[in-house]
């Protein structure tokens, strides 16, 4: 018997052409079933993209603001009595080797009103603090209107308002006056929001000398701010409390304002996981849609399968044809979804003023998930198609 009958393999190009035949014939169905996959992939890519973009934005903000600022606040000693920081605290902190800048602020006992016709009981929700004039440069804050306190201004009844404080008092320009206790104080400047220490936005700031002279301030600071070299932040942290308050170091609360921003970057993760889960569910539903489409496609195309078998297609060629069709179908959805997800990320990031970040791994993951779904959804229909008897398929009408 002759035995030169070896079935030929289709070239990759032919495999794609044959796999696309079924898609071209039923476009509406193709679009709808690819849509399911597209929604799933788009959700996942967008969620990852937005979360990464927002994180990148926070990181950029941290980079800009620096992570080398520490604050030390007067707290309570072991017995629960409030402690006072020494007047020389700033000078003592400056003597710590790696410290580059140190400055201070202090709570003062002054009620703030918009004007003297407002009853004393109705305060404006604005706090008065005495500040050293190097505070603004140490925190990296900026003046929005007017100017910051200078060496003359810190002795006079003049104030600079945080952005929220100005808002609450209804002050939009400098030169207006507010009441601090019974003293009329001139607003010489309004600050932009201070990103590292947002509590200062609600403060009306006066100079140390002016606070002593007009509001009975005793000159003891309540909060010390210092910046050191990046490498020595931990070391400075370790000695800061004891330096400021020898013998009562535990009564000083040291913190790093940039940690709050870093924590914000971390809190997004829970939400991101949830949204990724939702995307995965959408993807799963899309996969079921593809499987459904493929099963119907095989049922409808029994004749075509029979014809191909009579033209010499092997079982594996038929299997490969339907598997390819399923892969193309889900691949189409996946590619569309990845594009939509990336576009959504760019659009949203644009609105938020972020730099859009679409990690390559999320796109690669999307493609991999798509291919996996294509194989899983297409395998059963493809095997069914290949098992159809050639004559049965041909007789079907």
């Amino acid at each position: 018997m002759k035995s030169d009958l070896k079935p030929s393999r289709l070239s990759p190009r032919d495999i794609l052409r044959v796999g696309a035949v079924g898609l071209r014939a039923r476009r509406a169905r193709v679009v709808l079933s690819a849509l399911g996959i597209a929604i799933g992939i788009a959700t996942m890519v967008a969620v990852v993209g937005l979360s990464e973009s927002s994180r990148a934005d926070l990181m950029a903000q941290l980079d800009r603001l620096g992570t080398n600022l520490l604050t030390a606040e007067a707290s309570e000693d072991e017995r629960g009595n409030p402690i006072k920081l020494p007047k020389s605290a700033v000078a003592m902190v400056e003597r710590i080797g790696p410290v580059q800048h140190a400055t201070a602020s202090a709570d003062i006992d002054a009620r703030i009103r918009r004007s003297d016709v407002v009853p004393r009981e109705r305060t404006a929700g604005v706090i008065a603090q005495a500040v050293r004039i190097d505070l603004l440069s140490t925190l990296g804050g900026e003046v929005d209107k007017g100017s910051w306190l200078n060496q003359a201004g810190e002795r006079l009844p003049t104030t600079v308002l945080g952005s929220v404080a100005a808002d609450r008092l209804g002050i939009t320009r400098t030169g207006e006056t507010i009441m601090m206790n019974e003293t009329r104080v001139v607003v010489v400047g309004i600050l932009k929001p201070i990103e590292l220490v947002p509590t200062l936005d609600r403060v009306a700031m006066v100079g140390f000398p002016a606070a002593e002279r007009y509001f009975g301030f005793d000159g003891h600071p309540t909060t010390i701010f210092e910046r050191s070299t990046d490498a020595s932040v931990e070391d400075v942290w370790a000695v800061l409390g004891r330096t400021i308050s020898p013998g009562n170091g535990s009564g000083v609360k040291v913190s790093r304002p940039s940690d709050a921003l870093a924590a914000k970057a971390a809190t997004h993760e829970g939400l991101t996981t949830l949204m990724l889960g939702l995307g995965a569910v959408a993807l799963l539903v899309g996969g079921v849609g593809v499987a459904n489409t493929m099963v119907i496609s095989v049922l409808e195309r029994r004749q075509e399968i029979g014809l191909r078998r009579s033209l010499g297609a092997t079982r594996s060629a038929i299997r490969l044809q339907f598997l390819t069709e399923s892969l193309l179908l889900s691949g189409l959805g996946g590619a569309t979804g990845a594009l939509l997800g990336a576009a959504a990320t760019y659009g949203f990031a644009q609105v938020q003023g972020w730099t859009a970040v679409v990690p390559l791994w999320s796109l690669a993951g999307g493609v991999a998930a798509t291919l996996l779904i294509g194989v899983v959804a297409g395998l059963y229909p493809a095997i069914r198609a290949s098992r159809l008897h050639p004559t049965v398929a041909l007789n079907a009408t």
């Binding site: 018997m1 009958l5 070896k6 079935p7 033209l311 092997t314 060629a317």
Partner: protein
């Protein structure tokens, strides 16, 4: 010299579950270059004959050799290769792919024979020229008449230069005039050397063919004459 047998059935039987005996001990030899009609009423077993001769189905018992290969000895994938290289099918209802032009439909006849796309298309044009459809290369099935569709289907069966061409009721879905053109074409192809087996219930069509094998209840009731074609018919 006797031409090689293309179809050889020896005591071939085919039974289906439920006790249906579609073929009961059929002996038939068709040689290269013949033009044979397998004729019989519906239910006579001629469709089963088509499936067995086309290697779409194996006999329950007995031997079937097509183009020299013992069908029962071949695996499913080798049978597929046998169909791809040695057998061309023409169906009553054409089975053309909608939305694809005549050239692509015909080129599909070579898809599973390991021929490159470019060559498939070249040979498809040649085959279409053979069935006199040079002017219909880029027409889709919906733009063709029934007779033209069947000629495209014949071109698809021919394009691989098969050892055996099997036509199942090739005129069954055509009007008389188109049917005559198709039959004329089959005669021409046979004259140029193709072995053709036409399965039909139509005695008139059968009468126009040189050899007629009549079927009834799964058995051959008459075989007009096992002719051996003359030398020049095969050249």
């Amino acid at each position: 010299m006797t031409p090689a047998p293309v179809i050889e059935l020896r005591d071939a039987t085919k039974s289906y579950p439920g006790g249906v005996h579609a073929l009961r001990g059929v002996n038939l030899t068709v040689h290269q270059g013949e033009l044979v009609a397998v004729v019989g009423p519906s239910g006579s077993g001629k469709s089963t004959m088509l499936h067995v001769m086309g290697t779409l189905d194996k006999p329950t018992t007995g031997t079937v050799r097509i183009a020299g290969y013992d069908v029962s000895q071949l695996s499913d994938s080798r049978l597929s290769a046998l169909r791809a290289r040695h057998i061309g099918f023409v169906f009553q209802h054409f089975h053309l792919a909608a939305g694809r032009d005549a050239v692509d439909n015909v080129a599909d006849g070579l898809l599973y024979a390991g021929v490159s796309l470019r060559e498939r298309r070249t040979r498809a044009r040649e085959a279409l020229a053979k069935v006199r459809l040079e002017h219909r290369y880029s027409h889709t099935p919906s733009e063709l008449s029934g007779g033209e569709k069947q000629r495209v289907a014949i071109a698809r069966a021919l394009v691989g230069d098969p050892t055996l061409l099997l036509a199942d009721e090739p005129t069954g879905a055509l009007d008389t005039a188109s049917g005559e053109i198709v039959m004329e074409l089959l005669h021409e192809l046979n004259a140029s050397g193709t072995t053709i087996c036409v399965i039909t219930h139509d005695s008139e069509i059968a009468a126009s063919l040189p050899r007629r094998v009549r079927f009834k209840d799964g058995e051959i009731v008459s075989d007009s004459r096992p002719i051996f074609p003359t030398e020049e018919a095969g050249s």
